[in-house]
Amino acid sequence: MYAFLVSPRRLFSLCASTRVLALRLTRVDVPSSVIMGDPVWLNCSYELENDELYSIKWYNSNGEFYRWVPKDMPPGQKYESRGIHLDLTKSSFGNVFLSMTDLHTDGTYRCEVSAEAPSFQTVKREKELRVYND
């Protein structure tokens, strides 16, 4: 009788040989309306069946303002953008905390998730955020 231990890494490489790429966004949460000044959470959740995550990126109409790249050190990075008051200490993966909002926070937000090499398969979704004066 033989007993053997299959380490999680070995199990992954067994799956990889017959991989079926199934990257999809499970939820993209952007509040449709916010009172100016209030903080806001943006959330982007995904599902990767037999692949690894390469990047999660958040964009607005001015371009990319946040990314989470597991292989980077640190994984979370933000870019200065008008209307985006991002607290990196509270943000991770697709969850982004905007500590406050102003009129320039209003706009179209896009979450883009990419799987690792070799495919780099990518999914994205856009949602609108309206900022209202109280």
Partner: protein
Amino acid sequence: MTFNSRGISEYRAVVGGQVSLPCNTSLWIEEDISLVIWYRGSTGIPIYRVDARSSRLSNSKQVPSEELGERAVMDVSVLPPTLKLEPVLEEDEGDYRCRVDYRKHRTQHFLVHLNVTVPPKQVIIKDLDGNRLRDVIGPYDEGDSLTLVCEAYGGQSSHLLYANLAYTYGNEHTTE
């Protein structure tokens, strides 16, 4: 190259020919590039990738999708860098998006649209009575009017039209 109503640069190629689609992002800093990906239309499945995370972009392996195979090559030594398709196929028509990932700069995107012209399979010249004309026609008297009908069969978006007329006047032979 023109701009269409969506504000996207448009390029045109002929089936069997070649086209260089530019990745004309507003920023191109080669040393900081970690990844370049080309996508077709709105699908998220890349048709071309250059992974420069552990090597310089110019030394990085370029990987086309299986369908594109050897028909596609990216040239990162020119500005803007281009994705060259050769030979162009009818089904290449559509939108293309280039995405450039940077280590320290914002991700850049550039959109182009490719129109593909399919040349006609056959071109026939007829007179107004529907008679097919070949080789040498005439002779006509000076002052006569002559109407030639050019019919093209097959093809798509073929709006390139060349008319080559060779005529002999007296003893002089002219081509225009």
